[in-house]
Assembly symmetry: C2
Homo-oligomer: 439 residues x 2
């Protein structure tokens, strides 16, 4: 059987996971695809750094260039992360015409366009299944499984740390800070946790999914991002009473209207969102990720699995290695364009123009005229109120007042809330979250 040698750059959590997965299932993989992938060398930062799985010492090297340049290395994995050295590694390998498998969402989000152009130029392929929701073969599903669909809507629970924290806050009624600290102790959140809980990691993934689905590169700076720091147990409880769960969602929606040049207009955002409790996305708990995709032909689909971790990510890397090895065997570089720029002039919709339902919680003085004053402001900005709830059991100088708003532009709602915040009867900054029926 034909053998292809793998040069691995990065032997940490994911890298050692890949070595382990190939040790366990390398023969099975070979029997399935008819060609064998064999680890030839693994470049690491330090030979003695601790790893979740041991890598046989003779495979290790601290010189990534010698691994990439080794003429006996046929394909390369970049599993070092970051946007500096990782980029250099990938470009070096592509220039040698070697296929590269990466799990690096931050790099693709920032420099994807340049990297795919380099791949094209040097007749090599860049595979990136592991960059978005490791355990979910979502890149393959979007690019191949749903290739016959115009993608209307993607809703993704893209960050396991946030989903874990929100799940525990819901179960235990705990405050964000306390649950975060416990999650850090248990290893479910990093220190510092900002990349996850401020939505940056989800932003990277949403950008990649949006770019792939809609065929033009989405600039990360055009993605509206809100994290989960401000979510309170109170809002989780009120949402539940209203029939909703709160999830940090990456949202990619195609507008019904196009640009004047006829190109698609796409919303890409990340933020806490109320979704119906009965929807399958709402039952995605703990560290699991899920991506809901609506296509014009297929209708609703959902893909669920672990989003991160050494093993789930290794599974995605092995899938890419299989494709890369088959492409090498068949001599079919660029069989399927890894990223097909079929709508190069697409535009991201500025967030203030994006329309959705909204949940608004105010702390107000419990006195006559309060509701009228607030409702007047919503009315003046042409924002329809679908329901108002003043929950029972709250007394004191301020009481909660909850508005569910009809689909309205985020800009208008923000302007309304800025005005409402200044009312004398409003005692705390308004809380606002998006509401999606997912229909």
């Amino acid at each position: 059987m034909q053998i292809f040698n793998l040069g691995m750059i990065g032997g940490g959590t994911v890298g050692s996971g890949v070595v382990h997965a190939l040790q366990v299932n390398g023969d099975l993989l070979a029997s399935r695809i008819g060609v064998k992938v064999q680890v030839r060398r693994v470049a690491v930062k330090a030979l003695d750094e601790p790893r979740p799985y041991e890598i046989p010492a003779p495979l290790l090297s601290t010189d990534w260039k010698s691994v990439v340049n080794d003429p006996e290395v046929h394909l390369v994995t970049e599993l070092v992360g970051g946007t500096g050295l990782a980029k250099e590694i990938i470009l070096t390998a592509l220039k040698l015409g070697k296929p590269v498998v990466t799990a690096n969402k931050a790099l693709l989000s920032a420099h994807g366009e340049e990297l795919f152009a380099a791949a094209q130029q040097h007749h090599a392929t860049l595979y990136y299944e592991a960059s978005v929701c490791g355990g979910i073969p979502i890149i393959k599903a979007l690019r191949e499984g749903l290739v016959g669909n115009q993608i209307h809507r993607i809703y993704g629970i893209l960050n396991g740390t946030c989903n874990y924290i929100l799940t525990r806050m819901k179960r235990e009624g705990g405050e964000f800070e306390a649950v975060l600290q416990d999650a850090q102790k248990l290893g479910y959140a990093e220190t510092p946790p900002d990349l996850d809980i401020d939505g940056i990691d989800a932003e990277h993934k949403a950008g990649i999914l949006g770019s792939l689905a809609h065929g033009f590169w989405i600039n990360p700076s055009e993605i509206h991002v809100e994290g989960i720091r401000t979510i309170t147990p109170l809002d989780i409880r009120f949402a539940e009473q209203l029939g909703y769960a709160i999830k940090l969602l990456g949202i990619i929606k195609r507008s019904a209207t196009a640009t004047t040049a006829g190109a698609p207009r796409i919303e890409v955002s990340v933020g806490p969102t109320l979704i119906p409790k009965s929807h399958p996305l709402a039952s995605v708990e703990d560290v699991f990720n899920a991506v809901f995709v609506n296509g014009d032909i297929v209708g609703d689909t959902l893909f669920y699995g672990r989003g991160a971790g050494k093993d789930a990510t290794a599974s995605a890397v092995l899938s890419d290695l299989a494709d890369a090895a088959l492409d090498l065997k068949m001599g079919t570089k660029h069989r399927l364009p890894p990223f097909a720029p079929h709508a190069l002039k697409g535009a991201v919709i500025p967030h203030p123009e994006v329309c959705s339902g909204h949940y608004v919680r105010l702390s107000v003085a419990d006195r006559p005229g309060t509701l009228a004053g607030i409702a007047t402001i919503f009315g003046e900005l042409n924002i329809g109120i679908s329901s108002v709830i003043q929950p029972e059991g709250h007394e004191g100088s301020s009481v909660p007042l909850i508005f569910m708003l009809h689909d309205s532009p985020h800009g208008a709602v923000q302007r309304a809330l800025d005005r409402i915040a200044k009312l004398a009867s409003v005692k705390a900054p308004p809380v606002r979250m998006r509401v999606e029926s997912l229909e």
Copy 2:
């Protein structure tokens, strides 16, 4: 751009759906994959039969042989269904070296081994994404996305009609027969409904998924099948009180022990199963399908979408057409073996040996000694009882008595129930359903 001509056999629900999907998204598909698929001719039974989408008259023909043999036809879809003519069509096309895309689960289940052998022999490929859960790209996910995994467990809600009926029975508390009749009126169930409600359709799909995951052909006669006719609103309610939903599941489980020759032992069955209400599978409702897959590296994954219907199935056919067109363009027939027989000597575990939890509902006389008599029989057959519930609010000559049993072989449980049914205190045939924690 290179164009490949498609000869379609079958222009009914799915066939006209494919024509429509290519009309709507054919250019988008071409821009994504760099090659165009164009419908050249569509062979149908009768030119004037009614279709959900119109097919342009000049494309129609009633002579399938002339379509398949047309030298300008590069690839063929078989969308006529059944196991007779469909087989002849596929074999004819494969013998000409033409790739074939099929949605025919009954045919693959019965004759897959022969058809894939013919494909291999004639250097053509048989694509079958649409044969299992149309809107869910599960064949691609198993064969490519999870290619690096040993597949431990698959639980599939594989039949939309059954899931629709069970969903309505749960929501409305209705009896099976009444809900079935209404489903037939609304077009969610066929007349006669047997293929769906007796589990035959799910059996075909479970066989294909099991064969693909485990690399040996599963003989349909070795699949244990139970349908949903005997499910009552009473059992749905009791299950709910115990924290479970009832779903018709296709179950494919790899045993920890192998055959004496070292080949895998696999359970393949279809039947009503109690699953935890909180599990994502339990929130799969109405006509939706879902396939839960546990792999040794990736852990738990789930794939969800519409299982049938003209559009969801067309989406799967377009995915296969894209792969087939790329393989034609690249000259890579058999790039990825459509079915890889990597474990040819695998064995299906006889159902009596299969172990699982069980839900048992008895109607018993409410008198002393009843419970002891039943418990004695379970004990003698070495079957552990994890809980017994005699629900409140039932009086009269017989009352319900519910047992949840620890993992026990199906054969032993059946023997116990045969004995229990003969007890004087037992007033009706015992009801038994499988219980799965899905862990």
